[in-house]
Symmetry: C2
Subunit: 436 residues, 2 copies
């Protein structure tokens, strides 16, 4: 039986072993979902603490429950850092990060390193599907050649598809199953296999004409949001200069039943998607000599907000004849959005850095992130400070960066010396509350 | 009885006479609606042909039926150009245009001239409500002082409110009645009266805290759209350079059930709102020293599309060793969007001008606009050309600028020498069809 037919059979009767490479915010829910529908699964991650937690039945991600992790401890599921075990998998789904390098260019090193390590383990009859967000052309220009370095031929021996992840941590309205999934194979036979694979775990698979269409579609989704957040951050500055409450304006405009969708200002953009993905497209566009001015402008405007936050606080102190230097400032919320434990690219990092540069004594509070994470760019030896009565009084100012439901705003407002709100959720009629 | 109480009574029992100043796309539907709910109405317009048509029971606007106009010929309704008749009105609603001047600055001359002409006719107990889209501050900084030039005091003798129009010609899902209406009075008593006035014609009136909040809310609605159209026009250029079909990308991204809203590229921005309103805010922002970079960028990108359209055609001819000069080019669609007869600020004008500059012999076809309109900027002595077999063959190329349902695209595509589609609605597998 040829490779295509045999894999088709394995997928159709769910006897294929599905390997998920990268067990983070994207890979872990995907692994759980494949397991849920009856596939045998192998989870790969080279971060030992993650592997060890999962093996012990503990969830490394707050919104994924331990019970869910326990459910995969059935003797058939493997969680490992040993990539050679990929050989036993009929499907390999790649969910690795695609960050920016120091020069703000796409950093595909996680994927490229993986492909190097996988090289000797590829075998006939495997489907490799990339889910990482990336620039149009990655699947065909980067992944395809790596798969064909040996004697295997994609579309015949091996199969290749791209299907962008659409995870939205904290979203209670949608799950992996109910979010429609875009997909495209490199050849028709690749598409056929990928459609069956994903069709077994999601309600709707939408096949597009080529991997690069799927790659660009995912980028457009996030570019749309990054630009609209940038726009509303700029509108906030204008409204503020005209002494207009931008939140009242947004809520008023939102009463229009067509043609308007509200976005809200904040302390800047965070997360692994919005600050990064648009740059992937602008980089690719620049490779073919085309400007992407909206993406650039959104990046500039959104990246400037942490400066505005600190300047707003600084101005407030200056008016009272005070300086930021040596002031005790607490940033409430390290996560980039409410009720999640993900601080990747969080503007809170940047706010802390700028405050620190001004000589302020910085702290943070985030009940979901108990220790300041290791990052490539920011180093602070800090731990979560609980916002109880005693602690609140220690600080000259608190900056509300993330509006976690766990923060008792009424309590904080009533006790703190000064509260700078970047989320439009506090009570501005109080004398100690100011807003960005 | 004081002015406020007496007007309150008149509004509550619908015995107030409502004057609508400006009987265009905004004022005329408003007049019809006030009449429909039982108010006596007076319509003012200084464009004699409009007044004369309406007096004869004929509609000057395609999507408003003659029957609707006939319904107001009841002996009580007045249609006039005589502004002195405003004295008989208890309410005056201003629906005049707010265009840009030659330097791209807000041109409030229609409103300022009106206020001058009204000056001697204002009387106690009148409510003046502005509906024209304008920059934050107009109601209080421009209209208020004009009302108080005499001895009348706003909030006491006269009343003033701002309530932005949200008309969307051609929208079949919503009417004047079902589109929620934002509103704010200058004082509380102004707000009370305005709320009753508008509450009698629309299902929902949303009162905001000040006229400037209502002014900015309306601008935000249109800025959001202008920026998103600009963004997708830029994305089209990038997709095109990467040989990706932007429409497939938009449709694919639209399958995401949250966080994305599709906008579509086109030949550029048109209409009285999107090309103009954003500039009102950027001008006001510049007055207080704040940049509005998204608005500027959207204007630049959207204004450049007509150039891209003509260049695309030019390049196509050049590849075949031909030039645009003396070519017969027809622009299909003069209206700025489908199925309406409104060509204000239409990108088709600009496409015709650029083609003309290149020495092409230009024509247009638009079944809703039979004669080339008088505009301040464009002068062409042209009439609508019907797209029948004989005519289609006359042209070296047809540019589809507006996708009116009345255009038989299949017929046009099968007969024309060359079709350049700016709307993504044609069949690109045909050899004579190219797309922007």
């Amino acid at each position: 039986m040829n490779s295509h037919k045999s894999l088709l059979n394995l997928l159709n009767n769910k006897s294929a072993r599905v390997g998920i490479i990268g067990l983070g915010y994207v890979g872990l829910p995907l692994l759980l979902r494949f397991h849920e529908v009856g596939f045998e699964v192998t989870g790969f991650d080279n971060h030992e603490p993650t592997v060890s937690m999962l093996q012990k039945g503990k969830s490394p991600i707050r919104h994924i429950k331990n019970e869910a992790i326990n459910s995969i401890n059935d003797g058939k599921t493997l969680i490992t850092s040993d990539i050679s075990l990929s050989k036993a998998c009929d499907v390999l789904i790649v969910c690795l990060p695609t960050p920016l390098d120091k020069e703000d260019k796409p950093d595909l090193s996680y994927i490229i390193d993986l492909l190097k390590n996988l090289k000797e383990h590829f075998r006939k009859g495997q489907l490799i599907s990339l889910e990482s967000t990336t620039y149009p052309g990655t699947t065909e220009d980067v992944v395809l050649p790596a798969l064909e370095e040996g004697k295997l031929k994609v579309g015949c021996d091996l199969f290749l598809s791209y299907s962008p992840e659409r995870e939205d941590p904290g979203n209670k309205d949608f799950t992996t199953k109910t979010i429609p999934k875009l997909c495209s194979g490199y050849t028709e036979s690749c598409s056929e296999l990928a459609k069956i694979l994903y069709g077994s775990i999601v309600d709707e698979v939408i096949m597009v004409s080529s991997p690069k269409v799927a790659e660009m579609s995912k980028l457009l989704e996030n570019i749309y949001r990054a630009v609209n957040v940038g726009l509303i951050n700029e509108m906030r500055v204008i409204a503020s200069a005209l002494d207009i409450d931008i939140y009242e304006v947004i809520n008023a405009a939102s009463t229009k039943p067509f043609g308007f969708n509200p976005y809200f200002p904040g302390p800047g953009l965070g997360g692994h998607c919005l600050p990064i993905d648009p740059i992937y497209l602008s980089w690719k566009a620049s490779q073919v000599g085309v400007e992407s001015r909206f993406i650039q402008l959104a990046a500039e405007v959104n990246r400037d907000v942490p400066n505005q936050v600190v300047n707003c606080l600084k101005d407030h102190f200056n008016v009272e004849g005070l300086e930021l230097t040596n002031k005790k400032i607490l940033v409430a919320g390290l996560a980039y959005k409410k009720n999640i434990d993900d601080a990747r690219e969080s503007p809170s990092y940047e706010i802390l850095r700028i405050l620190d540069n001004f000589g302020a004594e910085v702290s943070y509070s985030d009940p979901y992130i108990l220790k300041f994470p290791e990052t490539r760019k920011y180093k602070f030896d800090l731990e979560h400070v609980e916002l109880n009565e005693e602690n609140i009084e220690l600080y000259d100012a608190i900056i509300l960066a993330t509006d976690h439901d766990d923060f008792d705003l009424e309590f904080i407002q009533s006790r703190c010396k000064l509260l700078l709100d970047t989320r439009g959720v506090c009570n501005y009629s109080l004398a100690n509350v100011i807003r960005l």
